[in-house]
Structure formats: C-alpha cells, structure tokens
Symmetry: C2
Subunit: 262 residues, 2 copies
C-alpha cells in the first residue's frame, strides 16, 4: 500500500489531475468514482487506484469489474488517495483511462447525422453537462473548437456521467473548414443566435442536422455563425436574453430528438 504523498506514482497522479499537458503527453485522462470506473471501456482501462477504505468495503464489486481486464488495482492509504483526488469527498476509486481518437469523416458520413458544434465554450461543467444531454438526445458527434474547455478536465469528465466514453467528439483549430465540410456533406447547420428569425421549433431536424452553440457570454463568433444555413432562436419571456449554454443546447437537441421520434 502506498502511504506517502511523496511517492512517485502519487505525484504523477496529482500531476495528471492538474495538468492538461501531462494528460496529453500520456494520451490518457483520469476518471473518478465507481460509476466512471464501471462504465470505462475495458480495453481502455490502463490503471486503477483505490483507497484503503474503499477496498475494505467494495472489494468484491471492484474485483468483478476488473475481472478479465488484466488490470490490478493499486492500494493507496486514505491520506494518499485524498491527495490525488480532485473531489472534496473522494469516492475511493480513480482510473487512468486511455484516450480514443474519433474520425471527422465518420461523423460527417453517419446516416442521420445529428451533430453538435461547440464554439469557444469555456465552462468545464457546461461542456460535460452537454455531453451527457447529447448522449441522451441521440447526438451522433460533437465538434469542439480548440479553445473550448478541455473534455479531459476532471470536472468535465465528472459532469459527463460516463457519456465521454460513448459520444464521438472532435476538437478542431479550423472551425471554418470543418463547417464548410458539414455544409458540403448536406448536413443542415442551425446557429442558436439572438438574431434568429425562425423559432427553433419551426425547423425540421429529421434530416441530417447540426446545432451551433456559442460562448456563454458572447455567443457564436461571426466566422462560425456566418457558415450556418439558418439562425434559430429560442423564444423568451421576461427580460431573459440568453440561457445557460448547456440549457440552450439541450432544448435544441431534445426538440430534434422529439421530431425524430415521430
């Protein structure tokens, strides 16, 4: 059992929690909590660390998930575990998970493509919440501008509630080009925009479509918005001008899901 926070493994884990660059170099991310551990694709599970008290209580559940993976859990004292945990109330199990690269072509060519395009979304919690809602709505891929929050940020990972394992996504530093390709692929791009004349529920989302969602404070950048087929807006009561980005994205995604159920 590792008990010291000066231990090299403990130091590496703490670094992976805090530093995007270290996570990138190893092409991994950290996932914490039993649910994130249980739902991790077996073949991408690289390492598993558990706290002493978690091990005492949940040994059987732990072994049953690990069975056949070839991965063995490494034991940390509660003190050492708390040091590498990102949460205030550590859940006792922390995994190092291998990243998976998705291919933009697959996203564009998918039958009944249903894409989400996030432009400069900066709040990690919002991005994670959007992944979770996107899986629920049946989104087939998420495209993020490279200045969006890092999906591998521990807070984002947590907010996805496991959807990060299942929803294809693609970061791009060339959003304009990607949008041109979306248009060429015959996918209708709808920009959530204050200047939208069409109410969001008046468009038909049963054909291949993409929703463009902008920054929490400033909305979509012009160079992104101008490539949309249509501007749509969510009609609003009161003095509300805009909604939380995760809320706005979810209202649009679930309207598309509603139409596609018919």
């Amino acid at each position: 059992m590792i008990t010291s926070t000066a231990n090299a493994k403990v130091k590496r884990l703490a670094g992976l929690q805090k530093k995007k660059k270290l996570r990138e170099e190893e092409a991994v991310f950290l996932a914490e909590g039993f649910r994130m551990f249980q739902e991790a694709p077996r073949e991408r599970l690289k390492e598993v660390y558990v706290s002493e008290s978690f091990y005492k209580k949940e040994r059987n559940a732990l072994e049953s998930v690990l069975n056949g993976t070839g991965v063995r859990a490494e034991l940390l004292s509660d003190h050492a575990y708390a040091y590498v945990s990102d949460t205030k109330t550590p859940q006792g199990v922390l995994c190092v998970v291998r990243r998976r690269e998705y291919c933009l072509e697959d996203m564009l060519e998918a039958k009944d493509a249903f894409l989400l395009v996030l432009d400069n979304l900066q709040d990690p919690g919002n991005v994670g919440t959007i992944f979770r809602a996107a899986e629920g709505a049946g989104v087939t891929g998420i495209i993020l501008s490279s200045d969006c929050a890092d999906i591998y940020n521990p807070k984002t990972i947590r907010s996805t509630m496991g959807s990060v394992y299942r929803v294809p996504f693609y970061y791009t530093g060339r959003m304009g080009e990607v949008l041109d390709r979306i248009n060429k692929a015959g996918i209708s791009a709808y920009a959530a925009h204050l200047d939208g004349k069409c109410a969001y529920d008046e468009a038909d989302y049963r054909e291949p479509c993409a929703f463009l969602i902008g920054n929490e404070g400033n909305g979509l950048r012009d160079e992104t918005a101008k490539r949309a087929k249509e501007f749509i807006r969510i009609p609003m009561h009161g003095r509300v001008e805009s909604l939380n980005a995760a809320v706005a994205a979810s209202i649009l995604m679930f309207e598309a899901a509603r139409q596609r159920r018919r």
Copy 2:
C-alpha cells in the same frame, strides 16, 4: 474610502457573503456585478459598494443607475473590495438588496399558472440556472422545499442572471400540504420520474400546470412524487438514465412554452 479589511462594514459584507444566517437576520442578499446592480428593483436597493478602479472607470454609469434611488455608493480600495467579493475576478460593484416575500395564494390563483416545484435540489448553480430558464419559459412561480439550495447563496444569485428579481418563489417546509393545495387549485402536477410511462411531449401543458423536479442524485422523494397527477419521462438514447436537473427542468419548461405559443 475604506481601505482596511478590519473595517466593520467590510467585515459585515464578508459575513453576509458567507453566512446564510446573517443574510436572513437582515432580510437581505448580496448581488455582485454591474448587470445585477442595474437590474435590481430600485426600491429594494439598500446599499451599494464599489471598488476604486470600478469607480474611476464607470462613475457615470454608476451615477445614472443610482439617480433617484437615494442610495449613495460607498468606495472601497481594490484590496478591501477583493476581500468582500465572492468571485475570483471581482466585478467592482456589490449591492445589498432587500428580500421580497411572495404569497403562495397568488401563485396558486394566477391565471394560466405555470409552476415549477423543486424538491431537495442541492446544487446552488443548478437552482440559479433553473430560475434563469424559468423566467425565459414564462414560469409564473417556483416552489422550493426548504432543503433546496438557498436562493440567496451568492453563487445561486449569480447563476440567475437577474431572474431572482423577477420570478416569484416560495420556500416551504411542508411540501406535501403545498402539493395538496396545488391539486385542489386545479393545477395539473407532472412529476419528472424514471417510472414515467408518458413521454413528456405527450401531455397537454396549455392548462394550469406544475412540473415536479427532484434531487440531482436521488430524484423525487416518494411523498412528493405520489401527489403528482402523472409521471412523465424524457425518452433517452444511449446509456443515459437521467439528465442534469437544470437541463431536465428546462426541457420540460420549454416544451410547455412551445405548446402555449400555439
């Protein structure tokens, strides 16, 4: 100008930020940032504090909002202001706002009542985000169980983006009784519930209605859920079982808003 963090006024403001009990005793809350200052109902604005750099830059805008209120801004050095601010990047203006009590009867008797009932929602950000979306959807009142997050928590206030000033709300320690009164008033209560057989878009929300939203992790308590007229669910793809509470509430509210526009 107040420069010391040991100053009694500064100490009181820091206390009001941190302690629910102190806010309750004075029947006030704190609202930070220019937008929250600008949108505060004039008659409820009690005190205004500004940082030195904010004052230098925004003196005219500040005076124009204060004009006619009888309130004078008190100047704090940037150091003292940072001490009383709840945010990492202080916005330079902080108001003490008087609370307003709303009457449950008014909510129940409103024409075309459109209520939201929050049961044990614990995340301050979620509660604030829900207030903002609720105003946008045209909700006429929000009822919260007394174990929900405090709407006057600085993080919640911030997430409402000003909707806290405009959406009537009511905290209750007797949710069962309130739901009985909702039913008696002829308002149809729909519980967002995993056991729902009816998809949320199959019900008719053009008549007086209420949505019951439960805790982030555990959903609605049985004693709340059993008083609903109907259980509804949001049909879900993938392995998603539930959505973020603010997202789920918003999908339901904006479906009602969509129906009511027709």
